[in-house]
Amino acid sequence: MRGANPLQSRGLLFVFSLAGGLLLAFILIPLLRMYTTQTPASLMRVAGTADVMSAIWLSLEAAFITALLAGVLGIPLAYILSRMSFPGKRVVEALVDLPLTVPHTVVGIALLYVFGRTGIIGAPIDKLTGLKFWGTTGGIVVAMLFVSVPYTVNSARIGFEGVDSRLEKVARTLGAGPWGVFGRVTFPLALRGVLTGLMLTYARAISEFGAVIILSYYPMTAPVKIYDLFLQTGLRESTAMAVLFLTIALILFIILRQLARGIGYQKDRDS
């Protein structure tokens, strides 16, 4: 369609495409360059190392638990933020986004004071249940959750905001109670937004390093193990694991995206 679209100008289109292309190259080249250092054999060798594989598995597992917790804790808040206005709402919104702005090593230190051996939550929970948050998967999950939960809240909120509140009202008049309306109308219609948020949270959790390494150096997650290999054995060994981890993570996300495509209601897809 011809119109006022500035991209119809060749000069503007050229300059903008050039800038966009540079950006894409900036993202792709370092990752591709890393792949050129490896052979299938070197990857197989590192994949055969038990502690490398257990670190990768731990990352995937802890990030999965993190995404579940983010869903349980984040979806209700997302719904409240999408439907209610209340005094201090802007403060709540700022709090939700706060983890995105705090340096992750700072997050790790802050969490240590709360979930550490003598922390105000860590110590009593340890005493009552024996569950520890330092040097355990629990600690890893706590660190991952702190830095990645904003993605679930914000994305689910956008999903809920897209649900016409008249549909919820109609559902009430049809005999559904508040829980029924949420479960049968609101949540299914917002599901795509929720899933997108959970996936972003999962991705962010897998890649977390700074907060995790301070709260739980051991057991090692993949990013920590890569750093450890870099310190102990140098660039070559750590590169092999980095490429392996990246490959597994990419394949996993491609699969998850494909699965998510088939789930949930999407406005323009009914035909």
Partner: protein, 362 residues
């Protein structure tokens, strides 16, 4: 007489910018009650209060004799129809209707299935039962929404301007379909709209609302012919409202002195006690002739007029006249061509004394 389907008893509410002030009316079983008013008058707030989404500050609401003032929406047995009908976009036609069936817990298992096919059949939806709402026409959406509401066995339908976003032709068609369906179903209905035509076509009884208060409640004919005040008059299409004073009353005819002229009114046409009045004349009740009329019947007004302006209004033309006061008249295209009038020309306007209605001036 049976229990009214709905009674509102002095319902008042303040909700942000909106308020309802002591709303009282009742609806008999099977009746269609239209609430007519401009946007922002509180029509939707009133419907949502009846549905239970807003709690009134005071007053009581009864549905089928049950006091539902403090009941939650899901227990009120109401079928709510929003603009465009708000079908669940993620569910097929069948599952939309099933939502209502499941909502009423009395319907379960095989009984639910037979109710489903009965509903699909009754509203002619068998062929589209597996479609999603996005692929339905306006008429189909309307029938699906009705079927979905019927599934939950409502005692009262509430329509919140369901047709207001549609083009004129579709609107006409859906309104006629709806009228037939509502007659067949026999479920008491409140229908709010800002469209006086819709009110005339659908209403058994009606009310005019403004700023959260009902100005007049009555039969459509009563409200259209004898509006209670100037706002109601203007809203139901009375375009000529002329201030005057009652100077005499005899032989069943009142004589009103205007600033510039006189007008005769059948004496029982409103405002009996006041001498300060406004004369209401619908533009379609003004007849135009090019020759001066023979002075025969006394119960008829004749004004010598000059044509100030001619305005095209779709199927009719609106003629603005200066009779010493402003008067507007509607002419069909055919009459307009036969009269062969132009702007600035002299003409004669006639209005029957029966067609003038008086309202009191404060």
């Amino acid at each position: 007489m049976s229990v009214p389907a709905l009674i509102l008893d002095r319902v008042s509410l303040h909700l942000g910018a909106f308020a309802l002030h002591g709303i009282s009316f009742s609806i008999e079983m099977g009746q269609v009650f239209v609430i007519l008013g401009p946007s922002g008058a509180g029509k939707s707030v009133l419907l949502e209060t009846i549905a239970g989404f807003n709690r009134p500050d005071s007053g009581r609401i009864f549905i089928g004799g049950r006091d539902v003032t403090h009941a939650s929406p899901e227990t009120r047995r109401i079928g709510f129809m929003f603009q465009d009908y708000a079908l669940f976009p993620h569910l097929t036609v069948e599952r939309n209707i099933g939502f209502g069936l499941r909502g009423r817990q009395s319907n379960s298992g095989g009984k639910g299935n037979s109710r489903m096919s009965a509903l699909l059949g009754r509203l002619g939806l068998e062929k589209i039962s597996r479609r999603k709402p996005t692929n339905l026409s306006g008429g189909e959406k309307q029938r699906v929404a009705l079927a979905r509401a019927l599934a939950s066995e409502p005692e009262l339908f509430l329509f919140d301007e369901p047709l207001s976003a549609l083009d004129v032709n579709t609107k006409d068609r859906l309104r006629n379909d709806l009228k037939t369906l509502l007659r067949d179903l026999g479920i008491a209905t409140i229908y709010v709209t800002h469209d006086q035509t819709e009110a005339l076509i659908l209403a058994d009884r009606m009310a005019v609302i403004r700023d959260g208060a009902l100005l007049q409640v009555g039969d459509p004919a009563e409200i259209f012919n004898a509006p209670a005040d100037e706002f109601v008059a203007r809203f139901v299409g009375v375009e000529n409202i002329i201030d005057g004073r009652v100077v005499s009353k005899h032989d069943g005819i009142s004589e009103i002195e205007l600033e510039n002229g006189r007008i005769l009114v059948a004496a029982d046409n409103g405002a009996a006690r006041s001498s300060h009045v406004s004369a209401c004349i619908r533009p379609e009740d003004v007849t135009l002739t090019s020759d001066p009329p023979a002075e025969s019947g006394g119960a008829r007004n004749h004004f010598s007029a000059r044509i100030v302006n001619i305005e095209a209004r779709g199927p009719v033309l609106k003629i603005h006249l200066d009779c010493g006061f402003h008067l507007s008249a509607y002419l069909t295209r055919q009459s307009f061509l036969e009269l062969g009038i132009t702007k600035g020309e002299k003409i004669y306007a006639g209005v029957k004394a029966m067609a003038v209605h008086l309202i009191e001036r404060p």
